[in-house]
Symmetry: C2
Subunit: 281 residues, 2 copies
């Protein structure tokens, strides 16, 4: 595994590889790698000649007052994991090399970026679209891999790739969960023991919602039931959204349809957690 | 010369060419080709294995109430010109193929886009940055050619290319003028005979400004003198900006510096005309 820190050098390496006809699988991450990331990386390895993983805690996707400063960083442990899986390149830029003095270009995906998480994290998806656009131009992947846990992010990136005519396949992989159902997330590291237990309420609510939808319940009734499940958990401090949505538009599903997105965002203590399920009935 | 209308096909062609090690020179245009465009295309031909010209009147860069509908379109005459110069590919997409239903991604270069022309053409440079980003991903040029007449545009595109890590050389070519000094522009076609004569006042003012700066005049005095020259021309209906600016920031130059941008934007009748000179003292 080679570690590359300079964007220009990474771009030259990728260019050479693509010129030689190699396919590049790319997994962009913010580090604090967990089994969710590992599963994306393994998939990228299977499907491509070369695998590139980036670790970059992207300041532009944190809203003011969010956890940019305290976001978990453990590059040495991440590197060990990546060496074990045997990836080809770790792209590890610093903030100044991706956002030098005078930086002023931003990519916005309108509409989708203002819904669900976008309502609670102003500027978040603009930061995501911008850094992913930059990383795509640097790494020049054939395929890029994202987790379904960040469903809205994957939808926005697909939209950006189509709209800006990128020649990249976006592969969205299913969410990896702990045994008790909690979705893998770097932010789970923030939870104390009690909070960690109570966080399982999210998947419980999603499963309850799935069951009801499959039984033919109305989306609005399902939402109320999910809310009820979550409200029983006393450590939940703030419910940002819970409900049944259209998987394409992210609008609330008010009538029956064939596919639904069940999605939850809430805070346990100070820790914001999200999760979702796609349901076909 | 092959004419390609489908973005996906153009992208495949470019990808194949680049994989074969060919360099691609790209000249994006809105058609109504004049000698200014022709000089860019000739330069692209000299410096690259393959030359691609696009003709696309981009709706997203026209502000509401501007001349999108009446912008001069003469594809047959343009094609003849391009065939004479012997370019390799004409990329001629329609609006629906570049902005299909549901399109929602925009690229913004903050700061620079709000100055000079940006003040008078809200959204213009967002439209420019967006379509150029798309065209760059479709055509995958080695080098892209722009005219200095649209100085602010070239500055914004350079910024976007650097910020979004595109691997493309932006080549800015000097302005081509009629014998009487008027900068070549597709919009000159809007001018009647009298207006066409009075339009020469723009270059006269720029030349006057250059002379004074080289003689050591203060930027603010130069601006006043240029204004005076222009105000003598009775067909000038609206002066949008006239003055001496910093070529990097586009802010008004208030003190002496080594390089200046002299720039003018005004309306003669309903026709908006711009021009500029870079001056080193």
């Amino acid at each position: 595994m080679e570690t590359i820190r300079i964007p220009r050098i990474m771009r030259e390496i990728s260019k050479d590889l693509r010129a030689k006809g190699k396919s590049i699988g790319f997994v962009p991450t913010m580090g604090a790698l967990h089994e969710g990331h590992i599963s994306l990386i393994k998939r990228a390895k299977q499907e491509n000649d070369i695998t590139v993983v980036s670790i970059f805690v992207n300041p532009t996707q944190f809203a003011p007052g969010e956890d940019y400063e305290k976001y978990p960083r453990d590059v040495e442990s991440d590197k060990e994991k990546l060496q074990t899986i045997e990836i080809d390149y770790l792209f590890l830029p610093d903030v100044e090399s991706l956002y030098p003095k005078g930086y002023s270009t931003y990519v916005t995906v309108e509409g989708l970026s203002d819904k669900l998480c976008g309502k609670f994290r102003p500027g978040h998806f603009r930061g995501v679209a911008t850094v992913v656009c930059k990383l795509f131009n640097i790494v020049r992947p054939t395929r890029a891999y994202f987790g379904q846990k960040d469903y809205q992010q994957s939808l926005i990136i697909r939209r950006m790739v189509e709209d800006l005519n990128f020649d990249i396949d976006i592969v969205v992989c299913h969410t990896i969960r702990h045994e008790d159902g909690l979705a893998m997330s770097s932010r789970n590291l923030y939870l104390n023991e009690q909070e960690r237990k109570s966080a399982t309420v999210i998947y419980k609510a999603l499963q309850q919602g799935e069951k009801l939808l499959k039984e033919g319940a109305e989306p609005l009734d399902v939402k109320l039931k999910m809310m009820e499940v979550i409200k029983k958990e006393s450590l939940v401090k703030e419910i940002q959204y819970v409900g049944v949505f259209d998987p394409e538009t992210l609008d609330e599903a008010k009538e029956k349809q064939k596919k639904y997105l069940l999605a939850v965002a809430l805070k346990i203590g100070d820790t914001r957690l999200i999760d979702n399920l796609l349901v076909e009935v």
